[in-house]
């Protein structure tokens, strides 16, 4: 096959929008972020070099550790609740004889179209004490359930997990559904003929086949959950009582844009990036091992 000679500059021309934008708006700020993390600022103009002070302070900063703790708890909690549910829904929808699948799919997917801000606003009203939809409904069904249940004061994490659940279950379900539809039907039939019950079929045929997608969904969920910000910010109007709703990115935001210390915010950003990088590497290693 003859290689047609294309002028070697053309691909670069086609890539130029990406390259220029990337260089100016990603590479440059990335390098600046490194510089900033060794500074303390009051707004973008006044900067003072402070060496490793930011990182030293970070190690013993109770707010940072609260934010980290909250973020980790949210991520794990969300993962444990969302994955089974979205997988379960996908399994329910996977029946070929099911009518109205598109409609159900649309319904479950609809919440993920709603922006985090708007979810926060809707749920801030739903979680209200005494007058919010959730407490009123639960109280109607279970009379012992207190109308005063303080979701947004004492049970911030469960409230966030519930809101995130509503938002993302449909989204993850779509991925699982796509994966399930790729499971070869003959294998399922063969297993059935061999006498395997539905649970065995699930564990031995279905699960292995959807592992790659599951891994992808888990990674996406972890990365997304770790960067949680808008939801608690709008739901609680900030960090909430005793900073129960403070997440890493929220702390970054308030440090950088409310207090004005862009330097410390950058330091926090780097720690976050490190955590996310570690998680990604970990997931890749595990999934690669799994494939062997």
């Amino acid at each position: 096959m003859s290689k047609s000679r294309t002028p070697s500059i053309t691909p670069w021309l086609f890539l130029s929008p990406f390259l220029v934008t990337f260089a100016v708006f990603t590479i440059y700020p990335l390098s600046q972020s490194f510089v900033l993390s060794f500074q303390q600022t009051f707004g973008p103009q006044s900067t003072v070099n402070v060496g490793f002070e930011n990182f030293r302070y970070l190690l013993t900063d109770p707010l940072f550790w609260t934010a980290l703790k909250n973020t980790v708890i949210f991520t794990l909690g969300s993962l444990c609740v969302q994955l089974p549910l979205s997988l379960g829904l996908a399994l329910l929808l996977n029946r070929p004889e099911l009518k109205g699948r598109s409609l159900f799919r649309l319904i479950f997917f609809a919440p993920s179209l709603v922006g985090l801000v708007f979810v926060g606003i809707i749920f801030s009203l739903i979680f209200e004490k005494r007058t919010g939809l959730l407490n009123v409904a639960l109280h109607a069904v279970i009379p012992q359930f207190p109308l005063e249940f303080p979701w947004l004061q004492n049970y911030v994490m469960p409230a966030l997990i519930i809101a995130a659940l509503w938002l993302y279950v449909g989204f993850n379900m779509i991925y699982f559904l796509a994966a399930l539809q790729n499971v070869p039907g003959e294998l399922m039939e063969a297993a059935g003929i061999d006498g395997a019950g539905p649970w065995d079929r699930f564990v031995h045929v279905t699960l292995p086949h959807i592992m790659p997608v599951a891994g992808f969904v888990v990674l996406l969920s972890i990365l997304g959950s770790f960067q949680l910000f808008e939801l608690p910010f709008v739901l609680l109007g900030g960090a909430g009582p005793e900073n129960r709703g403070l997440t890493l990115v929220m702390y970054l935001y308030t440090t950088g844009f409310v207090t004005g210390d862009l330097g410390y915010a950058s330091a926090i950003g780097w720690v976050l990036a490190l955590i996310l990088a570690s998680v990604t590497i970990l997931q890749r290693t595990i999934s690669r091992k799994g494939e062997e």
């Binding site: 606003i121 709008v234 862009l262």
Partner: protein, 283 residues
């Protein structure tokens, strides 16, 4: 072997149950948007009364909406959202398609590195760039401008990646080769041959980017200071600050913010979902 239909007897109710759970916040929000504040706490969904189905249809009101668009300038915020979302979607799609095409159908030195760069770029966490990005915008004098919001979106790495996948998988190399031998210009090949083939991905990516930008909160919150530039996400949030207990109006504003997306989604459903899953199943 026929699959057992009794299973469906359990599945349908389950699905309906979960559907109701999913839809309840929507329904509640829609009802709230049309209720006056006085009625708000008397009834959970629609006001009780003497009308059809025991609902007081005459107590429903459009007052919330008229206040939003009259006094509070939500039309401007809506237009801001529309402008930012659609322009970002178009810019991102064109830039992404161009980049994806280059990586998919050209052989050149550095191609492998570029592909690796794209993959790395996709995992750089946004928050890391928040603080220095702000400083950069300040230095460029682009704070509080539309340009500052749009310029960084011209060719997102994610777009380049998706289009590369799509072009690689659906555009046959022979077609391109033949066209090149025929002497057609690269731009012509790109526009008349490649783009039509990846039309599903175009639809998908436009929708994905439109959705992402429409719902984006942090970006405009940090970038814009003049209220007339606020998109709906920021505007509704600041509404909460001033009119926090005007639940009806808050829900009306939220409804206005969500409805366009749902409509657009209905039009571009299939492509959207196909585009989302394109990156995952292939691994």
């Amino acid at each position: 072997m026929k699959k057992s239909s009794p299973a469906l007897l359990v599945i349908y109710p389950l699905l309906v149950f979960f559907s109701i759970l999913t839809l309840v916040p929507f329904v509640w929000m829609i009802c709230a948007a049309f209720k006056s504040n006085a009625d708000f706490f008397d009834s959970l969904f629609l006001p009780q009364g003497n009308g059809f189905l025991g609902i007081a249809w005459d107590r429903l009101t459009l007052a919330n909406f008229s206040k939003l668009f009259g006094e509070l300038g939500m039309l401007r915020a809506t237009m801001n959202s529309v402008f930012l979302a659609s322009t970002t979607a178009l810019l991102g799609t064109i830039g992404g398609a161009m980049g994806g095409y280059a990586l998919a159908k050209f052989e050149f030195r550095g191609r492998k590195w570029m592909t690796r760069l794209i993959l790395t770029a996709m995992i750089i966490p946004g928050p890391l760039l928040m603080a220095p990005g702000y400083q950069l915008m300040f230095n460029l004098g682009l704070l509080d401008t539309y340009a500052g919001m749009l310029l960084p979106t011209i060719a997102p790495a994610f777009g380049v990646f998706l289009f590369r996948q799509s072009i690689l998988n659906s555009v046959p190399m022979d077609l391109i080769e033949a066209a090149r031998i025929d002497g057609a210009g690269e731009i012509r090949i790109f526009a008349t041959m490649v783009l039509p083939i990846v039309r599903p991905m175009i639809g998908a990516f436009l929708m994905i980017t439109f959705l992402g930008t429409w719902n984006n909160f942090i970006g405009p919150q940090i970038m814009f200071q003049s209220p007339e530039k606020f998109p709906l996400s920021v505007a509704i949030n600041s509404l909460k600050g001033v009119y926090g207990q005007d639940y009806g109006m808050l829900m009306a504003g939220t409804l206005v913010s969500i409805a366009p997306i749902l409509v657009l989604f209905l039009m571009l459903q299939k492509e959207f979902i196909a585009g989302l899953t394109a990156g995952s199943v292939k691994g």
